[in-house]
Symmetry: C2
Subunit: 166 residues, 2 copies
DNA sequence: TTATATACGATAATAGATGTCGTACTTGAA
DNA sequence: TTCAAGTACGACATCTATTATCGTATATAA
């Protein structure tokens, strides 16, 4: 299944929460976990990961917590997913980064290069979406691009795929 | 992790194999499993699923096997993934189809509509890729669109994301 | 009638995601 | 100087989905 991790969701919600927060006050793991009902321990781990990857900064001690290190406008979903879940790899033999662990069938299935390309396209797709787009509005900007996206498809597919979305 | 099922891979390889096969001869599960080294039982199940969803046709009995029911040119990756893995849902609360099983946080995280939109975009993305593109060449057409894709990104992101891909 | 196929359900094994626990360290404020 | 509220971090338990295996029934060409 093509699915995001739950921690990625938690992280996204936390980032949005921090971005909307007035003033420069820090946000604690407890605050996020209480507000959204996420398990505290996991929320804490998620925020630590966000901090380890440089997306937020931590302030230790009482009155401590986390603050955004970068604007949501500067972070793409591609970077975010990669920092939360590791390199994007739609199949094992196609890792966007570093050495791929490979696959016992590589060399026989003859699809490695194709999969690697597909993987790259997925990364590109995710990298075209800024977190600010996902956070700024309930009716996101992306929705208005829907028809544009359809416009990029093969002509013969349009009706077919519109039906799929219903 | 954003990842395809292994059965989806097996199915894709099998479809490509059938498409390349000369004449109208049927392809057995054994043939696919032998040729690519996939586990026989799973290969058989995968082909049955392809048949159940109407992507291929079966011929029972000795000398039986499977043949493509539709041209790879008429099938998009979106449809294929959906038929192999079920409705695309990047998060639980956002299913592209049918009733979503929901999420215990919905109503609190305030991101359902955003996630639903993201999900729709992923579906649209996958629906823009035809299986024939993935099967016809070792250096697929998609690769030549790479720069086009970059062109659709926010200007400020380009250098950033190019670095990501390295 | 036999060998080669598909058809299909039940179930086992594995891996990955998710959640829990325990403990140590840091710091502001009473 | 002590306490409460935080982060930091590793080990481990659990749950779930994927992946694989097994057994059996049915169809059909030779």
């Amino acid at each position: 299944m093509i699915k995001l991790n739950r921690t990625t969701e938690y992280g996204l919600v936390a980032m949005k929460h921090m971005a909307k927060k007035p003033g420069g006050s820090a946000t604690s793991a407890r605050e996020v976990s209480d507000q959204f009902g996420f398990p505290f321990e996991i929320t804490a781990k998620t925020l630590q990961r966000l901090k380890d990857t440089g997306l937020i900064q931590s302030l230790q001690g009482a009155r401590g917590g986390y603050v955004l290190a970068r604007s949501l406008d500067e972070i793409t979903l591609g970077e975010f997913v990669e920092k939360m879940e590791g390199p994007v790899a739609v199949v094992n033999c196609a890792s966007g980064k570093t050495e791929s662990p490979g696959c016992e069938y590589s060399g026989r299935c003859e699809m490695t290069s194709v999969m690697t390309d597909l993987n790259r396209r997925v990364i590109q797709f995710l990298s075209g979406i800024r977190l600010s787009e996902l956070a700024n509005s309930e009716i996101p900007v992306a929705l208005t691009r829907f028809e544009d996206f359809l416009g990029n498809q093969p002509e013969s597919m349009k009706e077919n795929e519109k039906a799929h979305l219903s």
